[in-house]
Symmetry: C2
Subunit: 308 residues, 2 copies
Amino acid sequence: MSVAEYIPGSLRSCPPDLASWVDGPTKSAIIDFVGHVSTEIAPEERVAVFDNDGTLWCERPAYVQLDFLVRRLAEQVGTDPTLAAKQPYIAAAAGDLGWFGDAVTKHYNGDDSALTVLAGAILSAYQGLTVEEHAERVRAFFAEAQHPSLDRPYLACGYAPMVELLRFLEDNGFTNYIASGGGRDFMRPVTTQMYGIPPERVIGSSVGLDFKDGDLLTTANPEFLDDGPVKPVRIWDRVGRRPILAAGNSNGDIEMLQYTQGLRLLVRHDDAEREFAYSAGAEKALQQADEHGWTVASMRDDWVRIFD
Amino acid sequence: MSVAEYIPGSLRSCPPDLASWVDGPTKSAIIDFVGHVSTEIAPEERVAVFDNDGTLWCERPAYVQLDFLVRRLAEQVGTDPTLAAKQPYIAAAAGDLGWFGDAVTKHYNGDDSALTVLAGAILSAYQGLTVEEHAERVRAFFAEAQHPSLDRPYLACGYAPMVELLRFLEDNGFTNYIASGGGRDFMRPVTTQMYGIPPERVIGSSVGLDFKDGDLLTTANPEFLDDGPVKPVRIWDRVGRRPILAAGNSNGDIEMLQYTQGLRLLVRHDDAEREFAYSAGAEKALQQADEHGWTVASMRDDWVRIFD
């Protein structure tokens, strides 16, 4: 499917019937919980939070936002040739995504040199743009970017069963939020179209902003990395209520799931044929799910289809 | 009026008819703007932001939150007698509110010694409490606290014309937010009852929170002082849209009003008889209003009544 073939909002408008979920214990756990909530919990307390990368949309072979970033770094080399001789701009200009993956691998092996260089480039990538200019760049990216292997635009890389779940929850009086390690202002321009979740319900990582001459300008200062124990803090900041349903897929979601009092759902990536099979970065979360009886959604066994 | 005589939600349930506004240019400016918006601006873009202290509720003779804080400092002296010999605990235990006012006056005269001492006490006042325990203390405070001179509980110190405005805006498809220098978690337990604004739409100052053993604990680390140029940044963080209506009353609201593209409303405290008359801390805002044609609401001339 090309971007031209993609129908905007098609995924978001799927019916709230969980038809893409296989009948079985996982689907039953969701339906039973929501049934209980509809009679026992006041509507304003029906708060659900969803991680994004790997929970609502595909995060492999690389984060969608990394594709957006690498294009920007390459663009920066074009306007500032002094960048061309150093990393990560060399890799970005050459389209060498492997360098970025290696930076993360080195980090896990105790060598933070590449990741530090990368972090500096990430922070300064949009410095000086207004928030509106940044949003326009995000929209332009999604208007043409295709997933590298799935033969579909990124806009069509949301998981159909999860979007059905969002609709099912809404239909039962829930309010859905995204609580993601991804960039708050990277997600906002497309979450309404993809998930029916408006900007005010998108929580994510951010750099600092400066107010100047009536506008908000992007700075190179870190503000939040919305991951791990930071997730419940940012959820409280935004919502002021404790969620009763949370869904995630990785170790960075553990604290958000622990904070939630109600249904804890972990998406397991075990479908090499239709998506990707991996547990790297999810080992501790899967162990917690096992120990504490969290609900695990196997992409292979619990989902009739992956995408719309 | 005592707390016992106060009818919960009575102010919030006033009709959206602006009946407490005097017919004249200020009321007309509001009605004309909202009429324009209803045909020209999509509902999801109808975002209105309101300062709280001095804009939605009375801030004189002292901030409501200062009363809450002083009681807590006095309580801390009771459990930790080593505090009894130092400020601001001496003043708090003696009920000497003058000391707190002096700290601010000294600050304006270039002497920050008292304010620094006060800031440390403020930051550590609720350290170690969960956010739920803090909320419970706020509710207990409002369940019995009376304004020192207005013969009414703090819960009845909201401005009736402003709450009518909130209802009028909602009636016309707006979504209202509070954007206050006051504490986010101090306001949240009462904003639904007083203004019909739920916790997720309350933006304010905050200390840092720590996630521990499934709970969020209050720390003594500053996070945001939601005032001046910080207000538009926190509004963007929460909403992801630029407001089309903003209301404030002090210099700390200038940047929020500048950021807003639409109606900018400044409440002028010029009614010594029914409320308080003062312009201290609002001089620059009133000057900006004059220079840029912001709409000024005179409490004396534009409001039929002040309170419910």
